[in-house]
Amino acid sequence: MMSPKEVAGRALAVAWKDLTAEWRTRATFNAVVALAVVMLLLFGFALGPETEALQRAAAGIIWLTILFSGVLSFNRSYQIELDNGALETLLLYPGSRKAIFLGKFLANLVFVLLVEALLVPLAAILYDLPLVRALPGLILVSVLGTFGFVVLGTLYAAMASRVRAREVLLPLLLFPMLVPVLVAAVAATAAVLVGDPMGDAGSWIRLLVVFDLIFGIASFFAFEYVIEE
């Protein structure tokens, strides 16, 4: 058995390795951000140029953009290992595989949060949103919503990345599971953007916390089964 401290140390090492590998080229990050920008513009064209209509739809647009662009990063997190047979080597290290999951999860979390840090201000500019006033609430909702998205994404990508049709399989498995995250994150974001007059952002945030807890714990334990096969 590894102590929690050892697990945390190894998880950070895996996360650091993944983020360093990404930082050296930034190829995936740049592509994902560029795709997110394209999607923000396309939603604008699809919904028409009226600022009010775009403001009403902004929360939904932002979260769909996060989901559709972020999902592209999860398979890559295992793909870089598979290409050189590095995953087997990683699994050969003694000790708990939970550390590998935590490390991959942390790296993906940082990756998607950095994409959001660029995407949300851009959405605020394009759709005329009160970014500065809403910022504390937006950060809280983003972190909680992204946690649930990334934790399930990291687990499912451990399977999908090793399958022929990985590009279609991952979103097909992942997106229906994320309905509670999408519903709660969009409603909370919308509430935060208009100043939460109904005071209902709190219950949506609780729902996000419940989802994060259930699937955080379930994915943490499921990963060891998934990765050994």
């Binding site: 498995l173 709660a184 989802f211």
Partner: protein
């Protein structure tokens, strides 16, 4: 380790034959289903507002119950599979998921046929309707995953993990959509509906349960044959003999 129950053990067995009992079960199930409709139609008067349209409830509601039961069964046998790694549990989970998907699709189709003349729309974003649709796509994803993974042990473990997580999500999806919007009538259960409908509903529930069980056994048997056939082909390819499946 005791007796091996992994997929390697599956191939050592002889080709199983499905007993006469399953065929008899099938006849009982489908005759029971027809009989349940006769009883249900004759017992209850046409609804004051909906007329005979209301009779859809007798198949819609039990289909939903048994679909949900099938997914619960997937959850249970998937958990046992992760624990015991017996290939039979994996094939049972797969068979139950297929039955559940068919019944869920049936539930949705029947609901729409009922909703169009009653509510004036084919679809509303009501919590149970939406949750049912989400369940359908989640388990469609489960079946897609099974279709894409060739190694049986890997397919078993992966789909068990997905089957367990999917079921954990059903109440969370339901709560989230309920908060999001609700206009559906209160859930149908023997306590909220007229007593003259209760017998028809119960008979149908039993009939649907038997039909589901029949499908499950048939599908499970077919899956066993598929596993054996794949193993025989592999064996023959290795020994250089001609395939004789």
């Amino acid at each position: 380790m005791g007796r091996s129950t992994g997929y390697a053990a599956a191939t050592a067995e002889r080709v199983p034959r499905q007993g006469r009992g399953v065929t008899v079960l099938g006849w009982i199930a489908f005759l029971g289903l027809a009989g349940a409709q006769v009883v249900a139609f004759n017992l209850s008067a046409p609804d004051r507002d909906m007329g005979h349209l209301q009779k859809i409830m007798y198949v819609h509601v039990p289909a939903a119950w048994i679909a949900f039961l099938s997914f619960f069964f997937v959850f249970v046998v998937s958990s046992i599979y992760l624990w015991r790694r017996d290939w039979r549990h994996d094939l049972l989970a797969a068979a139950a998921a297929e039955v559940g998907v068919v019944l869920t699709a049936l539930t949705l189709a029947l609901g729409m046929i009922w909703a169009r003349p009653t509510w004036g729309v084919w679809w509303t974003w009501d919590p149970r309707l939406t949750t049912t649709a989400i369940m359908l796509v989640i388990y469609a994803g489960y079946m897609a995953l099974r279709g894409f993974v060739e190694d049986p042990e890997r397919r078993g473990v992966w789909s068990a993990a997905v089957g367990i997580l999917a079921f954990l999500n059903v109440p969370v999806v339901y709560m989230s959509v309920r908060w999001w919007r609700s206009i559906h009538q209160v859930q149908s259960s023997p306590s909220t509906i007229d007593p003259e409908y209760v017998l028809g509903l119960r008979l149908n529930a039993v009939a649907f349960l038997l039909v589901a069980l029949y499908f499950l056994l048939r599908r499970y048997h077919a899956a066993r044959l598929e596993v054996l056939a794949a193993a025989r082909l592999e064996e023959d390819a290795l020994t250089g003999e001609e395939a004789h499946v």
